[in-house]
């Protein structure tokens, strides 16, 4: 349960060792490099942005090549493959790869070129197809479209933009040029065009031309030199050639499927080098030496400095960070609480002077989650599924692994509360035994059944809420005390304990409240007096000290009154825990709905099949929707109600200089 102690590390070494030292640091991945704001005539920073942008360009080429491979020779990956984690890579393999990197990059570029060829040829085929389409109406013609006639005749090849019969063409020409002698052949006609071949004596060519133009005759645009049939053959041959080219490129891409591991390795290699050059750009360098500064966790500091000193000529200096430094944060917890770290991270890491709330939060997290889902069947499904994943995929990425472990513990808690409240897939046991076996066997709750005694669970939810909030306040007290601010601790915590605690106890002495909440015991009247005085003392304390930051006495009083108004906040915070009841009931009752629907077909074979189908679909749906609900609302209770009492966050995550690879993970030789 802690925020790990950080130390500032400064390394001064010779430039000839720069590469090896940086690679060691990168592989260890324990140092966060920070920028040195040193103005010096000897030491200066090198500009590595050009090198870095080259790496990034290569990286995007490699990623593109991988996409090409995925598109043409996809690898089957199951839904669970994301759990398998990255493959191992030794330092020797990595070093050996450095020599092949350029060849692999050439392979990547070749893949991209092939993919480009395919898309070019595809565009070409489209173009050819358009030309073919335009040629189709002319296929009946056995002379080229460019044909203009013989010595004694003039030929007109073209089309009218409407559907005309042979007679209509004749009559229209006659209407414009009554004296012309023409012969019209209809090549083809469709709804919106009529293609014709017209022959006239050379002497009348001009007149016919004019007549044709007047009635909307147009010649085809850029007619080819060959006859339509020949032209078609040519176009088809070209299409076939383009298709062959595509096929050849595709075959080559598929045959290069074996390059995938190399390409992935190259992607990682480029990522590592880009990150290394980013760090080089942040070092202070002179002609022979360089200085590096950063943060390292205290427990890694000693081994690292020993390793560096034994391998290289370096000066390593470890110092405690100053009080105002923006030190990055790493959390470290026991295995039971670690999974919840990701929840804390998704809110905010602890800021300066704040404690790590993970451990305390984890207990409440599992309890609250379990109460909201509260079904032993669902809990067992979750627990077993998570346990199988944890055992089967040992190499999971840490982020996913934490999530799975968190749901494992949540599942256990859900199972526990499920048995407490007698819910196993809703009332499945009772429904099955009465529908199919005609017995009245049912799972009895260990504690009580929420559906029949909702108020009892409501009271219990409020109790959990009060404990949760008071623990939150307690942590605030601890935080103040750790810094020695005892006065603030009394003002902001003890007075609130008195006011809220006293108020609650006073309410419990009123018969109306105890009857409503079904509390079996009655507090003696003296408790009421004591509680009332406590609450009053707390209230007065808050009014007097709530505005202690302001100098003006009137403003101070007004602010004190305002902070006392915050007591309504406590009321709504406590009432907010009623969602434990509501969501718990929702799970149970919806499960009952599905069981009832399943049992509607009665006993027997048909009934059993119907029951199994409804059971599977219904409960899968219910698990999904209520798991989401429980997750979201547990987070809400932690973030809003619990963290609201003491936690602000604002810490910066520790982002060490490390091998941030995507496909392979370094295996440390021991």
């Amino acid at each position: 349960m802690a925020v790990l102690q950080m130390q500032r590390i400064s390394i001064c070494a010779l430039k000839k060792d720069r590469k090896s030292i940086l690679e060691t640091l990168q592989r260890r991945g324990v140092v966060e490099i920070s920028d040195l704001a040193l103005q010096d005539s000897v030491f200066e920073k090198a500009d590595t942005s050009a090198v870095r942008s080259q790496f990034e360009k290569d990286l995007s080429a490699v990623n593109q090549a991988l996409e090409v491979l995925d598109a043409y020779s996809p690898v089957k990956s199951s839904l669970l493959s994301s759990l398998e984690g990255r493959g191992p890579l030794t330092a020797d393999e990595y070093a050996a790869f450095g020599e092949r990197a350029d060849d692999v990059l050439a392979q990547a570029l070749r893949l991209n070129a092939l993919s480009k060829k395919i898309s070019e040829n595809r565009a070409e085929i489209l173009k050819l197809e358009t030309q073919l389409d335009a040629l189709v109406p002319w296929l009946g013609l056995d002379v080229p479209l460019r044909f203009t006639g013989t010595r004694s005749t003039a030929a007109f090849i073209g089309s009218f933009p409407e559907d005309l019969s042979l007679d209509e063409v004749y009559s229209r020409i006659a209407g414009q040029a009554p004296d012309a002698t023409v012969n019209v052949d209809l090549v083809s006609h469709s709804q919106d065009q009529t293609c014709v071949f017209i022959v006239a004596p050379r002497a009348e060519a001009a007149a016919v031309d004019e007549a044709l133009r007047a009635i909307g005759f147009t010649r085809p645009a850029s007619p080819p030199a060959e006859s339509p049939a020949e032209r078609k053959k040519l176009l088809e041959a070209e299409t076939a050639r383009a298709n062959e080219a595509i096929e050849a490129a595709r075959t080559e891409i598929v045959s290069r499927g074996g390059d995938r591991p190399d390409l992935k390795l190259l992607a990682d290699y480029l990522r590592l080098r880009a990150e290394k050059y980013d760090v080089i750009g942040r070092l202070m360098q002179s002609r022979r030496a360089f200085i590096l500064s950063g943060y390292v966790t205290a427990r890694n500091a000693r081994p690292l400095s020993e390793e560096l000193s034994s391998k290289f000529d370096v000066a390593v200096e470890l110092t405690a960070p100053g009080p105002d430094e923006d030190v990055p944060v790493v959390l470290k917890n026991n295995p039971f609480s670690t999974p919840v770290e990701s929840v804390v991270e998704s809110y905010s890491l602890p800021g300066r002077h704040e404690i790590d709330p993970t451990t305390i939060m984890s207990f409440f997290y599992y309890i609250l989650f379990g109460m909201m889902l509260s079904d032993a069947g669902y809990g067992l499904v979750m627990t077993i599924a998570c346990a199988v994943v944890i055992l089967k995929y040992k190499n999971m990425e840490p982020g996913i692994g934490k999530m799975v472990k968190m749901f494992f513990w949540c599942g256990l808690s859900t199972t526990f509360w499920g048995f407490m409240f007698g819910s196993f897939f809703g009332d499945a046991v009772a429904v099955i035994s009465s529908t199919f076996f005609h017995s009245d066997l049912a799972l009895r709750p260990i504690w009580f059944e929420p559906v029949s005694e909702p108020i009892r669970l409501l009271t219990f939810s409020f109790l959990i809420g009060i404990i949760h909030l008071f623990v939150g306040l307690g942590l605030k007290f601890y935080q103040y005390a750790r810094e020695g601010k005892y006065y603030d601790a009394v003002c902001d915590v003890v007075f609130w304990y008195l006011l809220v605690g006293g108020g609650i106890v006073y309410l419990l002495t009123m018969p109306m409240i105890t009857e409503m909440l079904g509390i079996p015991f009655q507090l003696p009247p003296i408790a009421a007096t004591v509680a009332a005085w406590c609450a009053l003392a707390g209230l007065v304390g808050i009014i007097l000290t709530g505005g202690r930051d302001s100098k003006n006495p009137f403003a101070r009083l007004a602010q004190g009154l305002y902070s006392a108004y915050n007591v309504t906040g406590y009321l709504s915070d406590i009432l907010s825990y009623s969602r434990l009841l509501a969501l718990g009931l929702a799970t149970g009752v919806i499960a009952q709905v599905f069981n009832k629907m399943g049992s509607m077909a009665g006993g027997g074979i048909v009934g059993a099949i119907m029951f199994i189908v409804v059971f599977l679909i219904g409960h899968t749906l219910n698990i999904g929707i209520n798991l989401l609900g429980a997750y979201v609302h547990t987070n809400r209770l932690q973030f809003v109600e619990f963290f609201g009492k003491f936690y602000e966050g604002g810490g910066r995550a520790f982002t060490p200089f490390a091998a941030h690879t995507k496909y392979y993970k370094f295996k440390e030789e021991i």
Partner: protein, 160 residues
């Protein structure tokens, strides 16, 4: 007259399922449009935006829940469907919080969800926080659910 009791009770149950269902349908639809847009830009966001899309869907389930408890209590799903007019009206009233709050809160929650979806598009690391904003709205649906449940169970125990 006594036959009117069951009519009012059923009307209440139907309205709870109906209005909360409409609200959730509108809400999940709105959030779904935004989610589809977010996934178009980056398919890796699917898991996160799906959760945000589903958040306004719970009201419909709460409505179903209330409708179902009412149906069981008034004996429509087996039992004795003979309840007095007063009791029928009480059941009707008990269903109303879920019906109305379900309808409105689902739509309002969907708007918060849509905003949260655009938030995680710009800043993917804020997923934990983005979930809280819609969840705040849901509080009131849960409170309404609670009042409706407690009322229905309470009315069941009355001898009117």
């Amino acid at each position: 007259m006594s036959s009117l009791g069951i009519a009012f009770a059923l009307l209440g149950a139907a309205l709870a399922a109906l209005m909360a269902g409409i609200g959730s349908a509108i809400g999940v639809g709105m959030a779904g449009e935004a989610a589809a847009g977010a996934v178009t830009e980056d398919p890796n966001r699917f898991g996160k935006v799906l959760i945000l899309q589903l958040l306004p869907g719970t009201q419909g389930i709460y409505g179903l829940l209330i409708a179902f408890i009412t149906l069981t209590q008034i004996g429509i799903l087996g039992g004795d469907p003979n309840i007095s007019l007063v009791k029928g009206l009480l059941y009707f009233a008990a269903c109303m919080p879920m019906a109305f709050v379900g309808l409105w809160s689902a739509i309002r929650q969907a708007r918060a969800s849509v905003a949260s979806i655009s938030m995680i598009c710009k800043r993917p690391e804020t997923f934990g926080k983005s979930m809280i904003f819609p969840a705040m709205v849901e509080t009131y649906a849960i409170l309404a659910l609670l009042v409706s449940i407690l009322s229905i169970f309470g009315v069941g125990g009355l001898s009117l």
